[in-house]
Amino acid sequence: MSDSPALSRKDVMGLLAKAAPDRLAMLIANLGPEPEIAWLRPPETGTVMLRGRIGATGAPFNLGEMTVTRCVLRLPGGKVGHAHVQGRDKAHARRAALVDALWQADPQGIETAILAPLRDDTEAARRARAARAAATRVDFFTLVRGEDE
């Protein structure tokens, strides 16, 4: 069970973008019927140029692009939701923008219903990878060779 830190909108949007699309869809379905939305910018897929840094810490260089889908929508109450999500899944972008808008109207309700479960998923996935990595960490040991005897 996650604690409930006061999330910034930046944190919320990041969590939604990185959520597994099926999982986000399921959590939204649990909320009941979706509100009518108006598109301010319908979902559009494009690319974002990913930049690295020379020697990891130096000046930026262009590594290559990544697909990203973005959209902006408005709820009947007037809240505007934005999404920029990795990949080409327009339904996922719509859901991320929808929850961004819903969160602005009801931060606590969305935290409990959607964000906390997503954070648990993210943490579980991270721990599963980290635990596998930990098992492949090398523990060096030195053999006593007894040359001095």
Partner: protein, 358 residues
């Protein structure tokens, strides 16, 4: 007189229909899904994403399927698709120090903060064919161990603290983009790295190997190789702040190379840098050796005339889509060109052998 010739449409259509049938192979064998390629041919997907210069595992898997496993054809397909998409922006520079590492090794330091983490590697395997993979079995599961949540700093920062390695000059200058403006030579290091990142793995491997064998030797140690997930952050102008839009898997290699010093610099180690999409360590390693070799001028080293030191040679021939495009175009009809050559050779022979012509 030039006579345009048409025809061949029916033959082309039939050839493409046969291509589709051949791609499917024996219909009695179950068809490969794109998801299967994405999940089980991951390193092929990574290579196509890196050289296709587009991070999208689903599209790369589709390209591999469509290309019947021809990697360069798959890279070509991905590059072509990329040109149909609008550019929405550029990410903030990826913070590889904050990578959640699944593999991190150093050949220069045994004990280092964060440890040596082998990850899912072919290293230390026996390279014996595993016939159990021909039988269907249960999905294997990797062992786990307690997580040690500790920072995994870059190895070079350890040397950096003592001034033993060249500093990496920080900067925020807008890097050149060879997908927007044609590559002009000489190129700065940022442009070179972009070209190398897109470059053919086999070509870069051979170039890197040539430096190891003495053609522009730089004596590289793998200071660090790390592979893992890095968050991608994008500034959204209409919101006025940046957001994480996703995560990418990256392979990063930093080599530590000998440097005897110059008129202005005391002896210290120098660096080569490689970065690639996905687990792609041969590419990252090759890239960092070639990056280092191309820096001879900046570091005041001698031009020994080695291919890997020749920026124009390396950067002009590293791109496999350009290379294959020019190479394979000679398969296309050159009837008129060849007719002219034929006429020329006949005339020269007539002039050289007048008696034979009579």
């Amino acid at each position: 007189m030039y006579v345009a010739v048409k025809g061949g449409e029916r033959a082309i259509d039939a050839a493409h229909a046969w291509l589709a049938e051949a791609r499917r192979g024996d219909a009695a064998v179950p068809e490969l899904t794109v998801a299967q390629i994405r999940e089980q041919m991951t390193l092929a997907v990574n290579r196509v994403m890196t050289e296709g210069s587009l991070y999208d595992p689903d599209l790369a898997a589709l390209a591999i399927k469509q290309a019947r496993g021809d990697m360069i054809e798959a890279v070509f397909l991905l590059r072509a698709y990329r040109t149909t998409l609008p550019r929405l922006g550029a990410s903030l520079p990826l913070d590889t120090a904050a990578m959640t590492v699944q593999r991190r090794i150093s050949a220069t330091f045994k004990d280092l903060p964060g440890g040596q983490v082998l990850g899912p590697t072919f290293d230390y395997t026996h390279r014996l064919l595993d016939f159990t993979l021909m039988a269907e079995g249960e999905a294997p599961r990797a062992p786990t161990a307690p997580i040690r949540d500790e920072p995994v700093p870059h190895v070079t920062t350890l040397l950096d603290q003592d001034g033993l390695i060249e500093a990496t000059p920080p900067g925020e200058a807008e890097p050149g983009d060879l997908t927007r403006a044609p590559l002009e030579l000489p190129a700065d290091r940022a442009l070179r790295l972009q070209a190398l990142a897109r470059g053919d793995e086999g070509f870069l491997l051979s170039m890197a190997y040539s430096t190891q064998r003495g053609y522009g030797r730089t004596h590289a140690f793998v200071g660090e190789l790390r592979i893992g997930l890095v968050a991608v952050e994008l500034f959204i102008p209409e919101l006025g702040f940046s957001v994480e839009v996703g995560e990418v898997e990256l392979s990063e290699c930093e080599t530590i190379n000998q440097f005897m010093g110059s008129k202005t610099e005391p002896p210290q180690f120098t660096r080569g840098y490689g970065l690639a999409f996905g687990q792609n360590e041969r590419k990252a390693l090759s890239m960092s050796l070639v990056d280092r070799a191309l820096r001879w001028q900046e570091l005041g080293e001698d031009d020994v005339g080695a291919p890997a030191q020749d920026e124009e040679f390396v950067l002009s021939h590293a791109d496999n889509v350009q290379a294959t495009g020019f190479l394979e175009h000679i398969k296309l009809p050159h009837y008129v060109d060849f007719q002219a050559e034929l006429e020329l050779v006949r005339r020269l022979r007539r002039e050289a052998l007048p008696e034979a012509a009579e």
